[in-house]
Subunit: 459 residues, 2 copies
Amino acid sequence: MRGAENPIIAAGIVGLHALFRRGAITPVESFEVFHGRAERLNPGLNAIVHWTLEEGERAAAASAQRWRTGAPLSVIDGAPVVVKANLAVKDAPWTGAVAAYKDRIAGEDSAAVQRLKAAGAVVLGLANQHEGALGATTTSPLYGPCQNPLKPGFTPGGSSGGSAAAVAAGLAAGALGTDTLGSVRLPSAYCGIFGFKPSFGRISRRGMMLLSYSLDHVGVHARHARDLLPLTAALAGRDGSDPFTTGLARLGVAPTGAAGSLAGLRLGALKPSPCLGVAPGVEAAYERLLAHLVAAGAHVALFAWTAGDLPALRRKGLLLAEAEGAALMAEALAAQPDGFSPDLLGLLSYGAAQPAAKLAAAQWAVAQTRVAAAALFERYEAILSPTAPQVAFPHAQKAPANQADLTAIANFAGLPAVSAPMGLAEDDLPAGVQIMTPFGADRMALAIAEAFEAAGLTK
Amino acid sequence: MRGAENPIIAAGIVGLHALFRRGAITPVESFEVFHGRAERLNPGLNAIVHWTLEEGERAAAASAQRWRTGAPLSVIDGAPVVVKANLAVKDAPWTGAVAAYKDRIAGEDSAAVQRLKAAGAVVLGLANQHEGALGATTTSPLYGPCQNPLKPGFTPGGSSGGSAAAVAAGLAAGALGTDTLGSVRLPSAYCGIFGFKPSFGRISRRGMMLLSYSLDHVGVHARHARDLLPLTAALAGRDGSDPFTTGLARLGVAPTGAAGSLAGLRLGALKPSPCLGVAPGVEAAYERLLAHLVAAGAHVALFAWTAGDLPALRRKGLLLAEAEGAALMAEALAAQPDGFSPDLLGLLSYGAAQPAAKLAAAQWAVAQTRVAAAALFERYEAILSPTAPQVAFPHAQKAPANQADLTAIANFAGLPAVSAPMGLAEDDLPAGVQIMTPFGADRMALAIAEAFEAAGLTK
């Protein structure tokens, strides 16, 4: 199902670039390969919920023309990608998987999609997501459930589950997702691929259907660690129209050159406390990874998170999403409450009605995470933890409350965070390791993920 | 009353530095001059509410010793300053003028005071302020009203009214204040001195009694524009313990060299709409200033603020202060509600009880100000407006609601903003002009204020 058998599918973004460069295939041929595969597999997966094939075909032809003249726009020129349904793609539905918005057509591209297209990427379609991006199983009354390509009937995680599933199943070489408490990293972990949430403010959110303006990030999914940097770099940059995009310099596109650099790395490994409920298989995979890192010469120190109870912090973060989401979607909530599922309506209504002082207290607690993280980074170059406490679970099963306990930290502190696969953990399903680095040190997080991959730790 | 007759008082921070350098006086003598004047005048002003004379005397002696050996620590070494009562000064009361905290003694210096002392400044005492920093007339059940040195019975503005009054009356060469919606700039304008609120995150707020962590800033007051930079530079810098202090580089201390640089400056002058209720005398002073700027060769374009109704925006900002303040002071509010005046209790209780979605909507509207400001700075190097719509008014008069309508913009967008005097406006009282520059461009705001002063526009 993961398509490793097909070298075009297996190549990933950087690999496709190499194939285009030496003329082994053209972007038009690659478009046809991915599209053909998507046509075959998507009906069983429901990862892509809207096709943009006409424009995709035009973009592939234009990319092929640029490659013929030896003038590609970027490393991602010609790469077939899908875009999460809450990011505006001109002339496509812009719904965020919320039925209330089912008839809304985007008048223009979101900032991220603008930049994606400007870098030459080929947008195949829109990816399924959890309704309103508030939930982590990827289902909604509007689009229905998305399946995990590794195990039918199982959730791919969420909320960017369609994005991760499309990449994992080889329907696209990369994908855009969004991440409020873990929504890029959780499905990446559940589907066995790489996901990256950059530093807060790195990628503009103009044209993203916001859930929580305090915590929302645009992020990316890819099959290989080395694909994350060129994809992120294409999207990153200041944007005066996103009030929260400030101050971060552009990411360079030069390779991180990280392979083999595990020796001497100072890594703080979060020791999961019993109250986090990390599944035994996930904990075992994590311990195997840490042992490999030590064997490779890294300094790995186990530490306990002492700056507040993580499940309680995650609940505070959830309140931000519920209350801010209610404020941002106030118009639709008032006009068409039946355009929201009872579950989503319940969460948003609950958040909206809490006393303001409770929200303010939650925001303050969440912000203190930055202080805790800054203290940790005085000792460690990066902080590791399992991405999710569990592997993918059946859609029929109620979602565990703790899915985002470990990923939310990075949203609270605005930190760059990669989820990399760390091998099979339970039920033949993979677990992910989260790599967090200091605010602004996006390249370091990516370099470490590449080093893990180069050392064979991410299979 | 302003002490211009005494060259030591009139010198300001940079002037004192020159006097120390050439041995005309010593920091110990300067301490005695300011202290003597404060002893005479403070009983009528109530600008200083707690003296730190023992440590001040020691600091002055240490400074004098450094000057003797030709090794001062900074431009502000030996400068006598006062510190707003909501900033922790070790072993002094840390009250924020709230009776509930009247017995709290600071265990250590706030980050700003630490840096202030590390730069060699001499702390004379704590300055009066409005109760809880939520109000702009500077009065409280704990400390009583502070008088405007320019007119007894009149408010110095607030909330940092004691800081501004102390500098205006020549009780100190500089002062620390704090600014949530205008609390440094408003009293500076009412008292005819300079006030500066740096970019958000420039100065750590560790050890500040926070009102609104979203909007609070530490700022400075001084008699001369050129004093603002060395004072601010001494305080500025990253601090991992303030989760909101991020990313801004240290301010240089080299003089801005701005004198005479008005020609060619592109200034956007906010045209006060009738609903702002700017007093005729203030508007006339503003128009005179603009005419002088044009005559000096600046390009001055009047523009109307179209990104939301300013009084409505200020009310949203007030809600942030009320709700966040209630969350931050929750413990004292619960334990000793009678330690808060009915006015303050009313504001905080109102904010606390509003629905969370209303707070979230207000925060979002406030954040959009950054987008509006970014658009303006594509056309203008700086934005001018009156600082306050009115001059100082009698304590007996109810505070007008619109005091912070123009200053709050800079808090919402995190912009550096100076208030500089712009001459007498009404009742022989001065008005202030606000100079706002892009986020991070603190030196530019200061340079423009210096140029205004050098051109004789700030008398």
